[in-house]
């Protein structure tokens, strides 16, 4: 059979670490999986602008404001290339946005938690970007060319963000008692959601099979989570903050930190739309999109007029 032959060729390329490109043949499931994953990744960048955007107007120094603005701008840029990468798979950005707004497509659940103090700008950078980066570094070697290249570009900026977030936490942890309390509080609130960003345990993660075979995913959820925790625990110690997990301790045998049980009920609840800010985030996105409808229409009308003029001329 034609298709079977194609599938074999496809798998051979994957096994030989040759990137799959948009014009190449690919199994329908591979395409669907990537559409879902890349667009979800793009949506996360875009929705992620909101919790950080919440603090731009109140940034406590001009330097802090500039750093935060630049970070959010980078995220919008990431959203842009990720939508472009996703579009190479034959769906338009408008379609992806519709899926987001209808709730069909998800985005990273972490953005359904509110940012309550300036220390949250530190926690988001340090933990959320930190977790994202561990995942993204691994995805630089993903099998789909456009996604892999987007990841290479994103990783460079993201590690910068993570450092900036950690700096905010460090400054506050070494600041006034109020600042230190805010930093610890931010860590308390963001720790568990951050380590759940890697998704369910491998044993509960049914989609992993093909994704690993097709090298979309290069490492498992639990492997990535462990990497992140090992790295982050030490960073917390350096600045004198306490990870809110009484079960956390170094396991000499494993060469890794052991850690406590995550609250998967909470995880699934937030994924399903019942986090503290799910509605707020989607409503915000819809409102901005609707408010901008007349602007997009005008831009299209103008572009069409210009095209006509050129044809006549």
């Amino acid at each position: 059979m034609e298709d079977l032959r194609k599938l074999e060729e496809f798998q051979a390329k994957i096994d030989a670490e040759i990137k799959i490109e948009p014009k190449d043949w690919m199994p329908e499931d591979y395409k669907k999986h990537l559409q879902r994953q890349i667009s979800q990744h793009a949506h996360s960048e875009v929705i992620g602008m909101q919790p950080e955007g919440n603090w731009i107007s109140r940034a406590p120094s001009l330097r802090a404001k500039v750093v935060l603005l630049a970070k959010i701008q980078d995220e919008a840029g990431h959203g842009q290339y990720l939508y472009s990468a996703a579009e190479t798979l034959g769906k338009s950005r408008d379609e992806f946005i519709e899926e987001l707004q209808s709730g069909k497509a998800k985005y990273s659940s972490i953005f359904n938690y509110p940012t309550l103090t300036w220390a949250d700008m530190g926690a988001v950078g340090w933990l959320v970007d930190g977790a994202a980066i561990v995942n993204q570094v691994s995805l630089q070697r993903t099998s789909y060319g456009p996604y892999s290249r987007a990841m290479v570009r994103i990783c460079k900026e993201e590690s910068f963000h993570q450092r900036q977030g950690y700096e905010i936490m460090a400054t506050m942890a070494n600041g006034t008692p109020e600042q230190k309390a805010m930093a610890q509080d931010a860590l308390n609130r963001f720790w568990w959601p951050s380590i759940m960003m890697f998704g369910p345990h491998d044993s509960d993660s049914p989609n992993t099979g093909n994704a690993v075979k097709w090298k979309i995913k290069r490492e498992t959820n639990d492997e990535l989570r462990q990497k992140f925790i090992d790295k982050t625990v030490q960073q917390a110690e350096v600045i004198g903050l306490t990870i809110p997990d009484p079960d956390l301790k170094w396991n000499e045998d494993r060469g890794h930190y052991d850690f406590g049980e995550m609250d998967w009920d909470e995880f699934w609840r937030v994924v399903k739309g019942n986090g503290p800010c799910n509605k707020q985030r989607l409503n915000h996105h819809k409102k901005a999109h609707n408010d901008g409808a007349w602007v997009r229409e005008a831009a299209i009308a103008y572009a069409e007029k210009q095209k006509e003029k050129q044809l006549v001329a």
């Binding site: 120094s61 404001k65 959010i72 842009q80 901005a288 901008g292 602007v295």
Partner: protein
């Protein structure tokens, strides 16, 4: 008034206008009509806040009392801000923002073109550096003015109304007082009447290209020279300064 005092005030005018307009632009974050505009508007905000840092730092240095950019941004009162009235206008809808930025960028563009040859090295360097940024701001807002003006009937009417509403705040951009007089003599500042001529040309040209009508002459509001403001600024400042005011001892 000494030349130094005049120059401090001049720096605050420039720095405050950039700061307040930058703060306004940053309010757009995640609210743009398309993702590309989120990026573009954040870019404008970044440039403007950057400009304000240079000018406020310089003002603090000239003053010689050890005040930093943050002291000046976060610890002055409303009646000590010398920003243009235009810069503090609320964002409104996208067209309101486009019209405001267009009018203001055209002002900064021609002002900085003129200030490039200021006798004050810092001012000259600031103008030379900012001109690149402001050229982009002017191009970006002009392009949108044209798209909206020559887009749909709805967008045409909206942007025309935005222009009309903002017009009364454009006179303020060009008002001058003793500060200008002193600094013009020293070759530091420039005659804003000259800047206005260039501004008028740019404005007329783009408005025409946008198939819009230049707003009718009307009474022009004053404010900038006397740190007089609309009620909108106080709310912006309360939010902007909150953390510095609440934790005066803290470093961030």
């Amino acid at each position: 008034m000494t030349t130094n005092e005049a120059l401090i005030n001049y720096c605050l005018r420039l720095g405050d206008s950039s700061l307040i307009l930058g703060q306004r632009m940053s309010e757009w974050c995640s609210n743009g009509p398309i993702l590309e505009e989120d990026i573009a508007m954040t870019n404008v905000a970044l440039d403007l806040i950057g400009q304000s840092r240079t000018m406020l730092t310089y003002a603090g240095k000239l003053e010689g009392k050890g005040r930093t950019e943050d002291d000046l941004a976060y610890k002055r009162e409303e009646r000590e801000f010398y920003n243009t009235l235009l810069s503090e206008r609320p964002n409104g809808h996208f067209g309101d923002t486009v019209a405001r930025n267009f009018l203001h960028s055209a002002f900064f563009y021609h002002l900085f073109q003129a200030l490039k040859s200021s006798e004050d090295e810092m001012i000259a360097a600031h103008a030379a550096k900012s001109i690149k940024e402001v050229t982009y701001h002017l191009r970006h807002s002009s392009e949108w003015l044209v798209r909206l003006g020559d887009g749909t009937e709805e967008s045409h009417n909206k942007i025309q109304e935005s222009l009309n509403d903002l017009w009364e705040f454009t006179g303020d951009l060009f008002e001058m007082n003793e500060v200008d007089e002193i600094l013009i003599k020293e070759g530091i500042a420039v005659d804003l009447a000259e800047v206005k001529k260039e501004w008028d040309k740019t404005i007329n040209q783009v408005i025409e290209r946008a198939t819009l009508t230049k707003p009718e002459e009307c009474y022009m509001q004053s404010g900038r020279l006397n740190a007089m403001h609309s009620e909108y600024l106080g709310h912006l400042i309360a939010e902007m300064q909150f953390l510095q005011r609440a934790y005066p001892e803290a470093q961030w």
